[in-house]
Symmetry: C7
Subunit: 100 residues, 7 copies
């Protein structure tokens, strides 16, 4: 099946959720609290943004490859090929994750 | 029965859903996840758009023949002839699908 | 009973629903999907429109005798004489039907 | 009991519902559909209207003695003397009835 | 207990409901419909009004001692001394009552 | 436990409810209606106010030590030390109480 | 597991709740009312703020290390490493706590 591409409209952001690991790198089973990362994802593609009243594009808050924190509710689940994704409005994404 | 045409008003978009195939081209039954494409459709016709406060038409985000990703909820189901369609506001369409 | 006339206020549109035929012209009973035309109607009268902030009338999207597609929900059912009608706001009418 | 007068505030309209006749002029019992006129009324008094942002009064859509079509829901029921009335915002009145 | 005074804030209006008489002046028991006046009241005090975007006070629609018609729902019940009152926003008061 | 101070943000007002007396000064048990004063409070601290679109602070309607009438619903209950307080937006406070 | 950093978007504030002590410094079990401090937290990081219509950043009400009072409802729970946090919009934070 040929890979396909979804170009989000307006200020939408296509995100792929990061599956939380169930074992640590050393092989130890991780407690449930450590698995709560299902609300994290990677930005796959971003829309052009909404326009303000004068017609100028409002800048987006995230960019492709950003690791982002997602809200627990909302978003539109979509399937492309055999992968699951979720679309959020830019303003609903909670924050960007970075290594310290 | 004569074919009829629906001209959407304002920023509405007339979409025909794409029925997901239940068998692959080679004849193998596809798993259910591959069938989740019912939220995809083809744009049949588009309205002129809404007007801003100065009376100018706001540009539409999609055009006829675009393959689009639809939200799981919302839209107005309509029947023309013996075909089923769904009408969405332009801003509710999630994105445009393209082959990579 | 003397016929009466209803002049809609603001941007309201008075519509008479088109009863779907239950038999084809040739007399064959039509399947249920073909009868789903109950959301189609004919525009009987239209209001003058709403006014914008400067007091100018905003143009209406439909005119008398237009065949229109109605949303599945909403509208105000009214009876004039012994006929049933429904009133919709202009912006809630989905589209105008035309023969190709 | 002395008759009293209610002066509506803002864009409110005081309406008295028209009781549907249960018999025709000739004395024949009318079918129920003919009795559905309970959503019709006569305008008893009107408020001065709301003001726009510059402080000018916005014109009202109906005037005293207009026969009007009322929505099925909403409005504030009030009693003056031993008569029942209903108050609607001007923009909620569906239309004005006229003999053809 | 010393009498106290409540100065309403913004566009609030302090109203004391008029208890409907249960007997006519002549001593005859009144039917229930005549007792529906519990939605009438007397204005006890009024706030200064809300301010528009330029900071000017918007005029209030009612004044102290006005007899007013109240909506069936809403308002804030308060007790001052051993009397019950209700506070409404100015725009929620339906109308002013006057003897003809 | 050291006393602490809460500085409200925006147009919030920190209020301490006045417990209604259950006995009169003379020692007589008060009826329940006289105890309904639980919606009265004293203003402990006030926020700086919200800003309008030009960035100017909008004046607050109440000040520290004002005796105020509170709505029956809403507000945020907070505990400081071992005292209970409630935070309201300035515009939700019904009025200011004064001795006549 | 490497520590990670969450940079909040727009006017969001990342807060870590302060666990209420269950025993006083002297070792005495504290009554439940004294434990109601779960709505207090420390600001860990703040977003840049929202922009007004001209594109200027609106100033945030709180800053890193502020001790803040949180509303009882709302917010987005997130986990970073093995610590729990909560994200609030700046305008939903009730106030800033200070020692007298």
């Amino acid at each position: 099946m040929a890979a396909r591409r979804l170009v989000p409209l307006l200020d939408r952001v296509l995100v792929q959720r990061i599956e939380p690991p169930t074992k640590s790198i050393g092989g130890v089973l991780l407690p449930e609290s450590t698995q709560s990362k299902l609300n994290e994802g990677v930005v796959i593609s971003v829309g052009p943004g909404r326009r303000d009243k004068e017609g100028s594009l409002l800048p987006m808050g995230v960019k492709v490859d950003d690791k982002v924190m997602l809200p627990q509710y909302g978003g539109n689940e979509v399937t492309l090929g055999d992968e699951d994704y979720v679309l959020f409005r830019d303003e609903d994404i909670l924050g960007v994750l970075a290594d310290k």
